[in-house]
């Protein structure tokens, strides 16, 4: 019951629908990128968007649920990383709250901050559950670092950070652009949009 009440207060129907659409955008974005064979992920645009438009908690929940759903439609490995996606949404929401999404270059800085949050949560999961290796391109960076004599922790930190930096900066700038391009009628329905749209 208390969960229900919390939901009612924090999340209006509009926010809930926005989050559900954002989850779809995340997944479609990820699929499009792999269709175009691009070396980025782009699977968190929706999460960042919700962070901007509805705040850190809604953003975090969007990320969490996105990965749980990825887990159901492609591979449960994605579900293991749901806390990481959650951190991305929270970080984006906090950045927007403190005015770090007002211009495109501020959005780039937010992208870097999101990458840091991402790494903080991703590294322990990679280390503990996957022994530092997840069968992706980032493993090459990890093994290179290991070969240079770094410890496992340091190697994973560096590989997670470098593999995500460009992706998260692009994601942040794209999300900023999308919010800018939304019609006024839509942004007035989403109270937090003013964090981005006007000074």
């Amino acid at each position: 019951m208390s969960l229900n009440r919390r939901f009612k207060e924090d999340f209006t129907t509009t926010t809930v629908v926005l989050m559900s659409i954002a989850i779809v955008i995340n997944i479609v974005g990820g699929q499009l990128v792999s269709m175009l064979k691009l070396p980025i992920f782009l699977d968190s645009i929706g999460t960042v968007l919700v962070g901007l438009l509805a705040g850190p908690w809604a953003g975090g929940l969007t990320g969490l649920l996105t990965n749980l759903i990825w887990g159901m439609i492609s591979s449960p490995v994605a579900a293991a990383f749901s806390p990481v996606a959650m951190a991305i949404g929270i970080a984006a929401g906090l950045c927007a709250k403190y005015g770090l999404f007002k211009t495109w270059w501020l959005a780039m800085i937010s992208g870097v901050i999101i990458t840091v949050f991402n790494a903080i949560v991703a590294v322990p999961i990679r280390l503990y559950m996957f022994g530092g290796i997840t069968g992706s391109g980032a493993d090459f960076i990890t093994s290179y670092m290991l070969a240079l004599g770094k410890d496992l922790f340091g190697s994973v930190v560096i590989s997670v950070f470098t593999a995500n930096l460009i992706d998260k900066v692009i994601t942040a700038v794209l999300a900023w652009g999308i919010v800018k391009a939304l019609p006024l009628r839509t942004t007035t329905r989403l109270p937090r949009a003013k964090n981005v749209v006007s000074a």
Binding site: I21, G29, L38, G71, P76, T134, I178
Partner: protein, 261 residues
């Protein structure tokens, strides 16, 4: 392994006792397995025992073949990376197992890789069991009953259905792309530029539709405060409810002991 056409998830339409099990029972089982694998003793024998238990359950539900196939797809790339990287480069490597043209395979790294992989396999099997045997509609019903939160059920359920309809839109785009011979194989910069015109209309259109979607939900009593009824019937039993609590309790105890130890 293609997702189920109607549910968009990996659900396999079969009639077994696993299919009929309450979704929350299966979710509790994933939690228990996870805690048992990562919080229990780290001996390889113990992990293999867990592995065996999961395999038996899978087989009894008639899902052994599908699970094996799915596992292979997930674990194989991990295995190919993990075994060599850790056997050669694991920082804790001391004991030489064998030497081959200057490449040294160490025992510690190899064991570390094997133990990580088996633990992961245990949890993966439990997760595949859940995903393969649970129709998302049952999950939605279970969540809206248990959490009494229409929002949470909506958030997990609606993306799946929207994806199914969105997939058709993407396939159309994809076909159009191919017909124009566009950039799927062109240089990376050009492919990157073709991303925005694909993605942006889709995203903007979807966000603009949020307003109508939420109004449509509201007028259909989505936020109604009356006690809700359900058309879909979920089979549940006292035994299952007991098992759920038991599994959660065991998981809590294991976690506690792990924390203390």
């Amino acid at each position: 392994m293609a997702p189920n056409k109607t549910t968009a998830t990996l659900f396999i339409d079969k009639d077994s006792w696993l299919q009929r099990l309450h979704p929350l029972t299966k979710l509790s089982y994933i939690l228990l397995t996870g805690v048992a694998a990562y919080g229990g003793p780290s001996s390889l024998l113990y992990i293999c025992l867990l592995l065996f238990c999961n395999a038996v359950i899978t087989a009894s539900g008639g899902l052994l073949k599908d699970t094996a196939k799915a596992l292979l797809r997930v674990i194989l790339p991990l295995l190919l990376f993990m075994i060599p990287i850790h056997s050669f480069l694991f920082p804790g490597n001391r004991t030489v197992l064998l030497e081959f043209h200057g490449m040294i395979v160490y025992q510690e790294g190899l064991l570390f890789a094997i133990s990580t992989l088996t633990k992961l396999t245990v949890v993966l099997i439990a997760s595949f069991l859940f995903v393969f045997s649970t129709h998302p509609a049952d999950l939605i019903t279970a969540l809206s009953h248990t959490c009494r939160s229409p929002s949470l059920a909506y958030l997990l359920g609606s993306p799946l259905l929207l994806l199914a309809s969105m997939r058709e839109r993407i396939e159309t785009i994809q076909a159009a792309q191919r017909a124009r011979g566009l950039d799927v194989d062109g240089n990376m910069f050009r492919r990157f530029l073709s991303l925005a015109p694909l993605l942006l209309p889709l995203v903007l259109g979807a966000i603009v539709e949020v307003e109508q979607r939420s109004i449509a939900l509201e007028v259909r009593g989505f936020k109604s405060t009356s006690i809700k009824t359900s058309l879909r019937k979920l089979s549940d039993s006292a035994l299952q409810r007991f098992c759920r609590w038991l599994m959660l309790a065991i998981a809590a105890v294991v976690l506690l002991l792990h924390g203390l130890g």
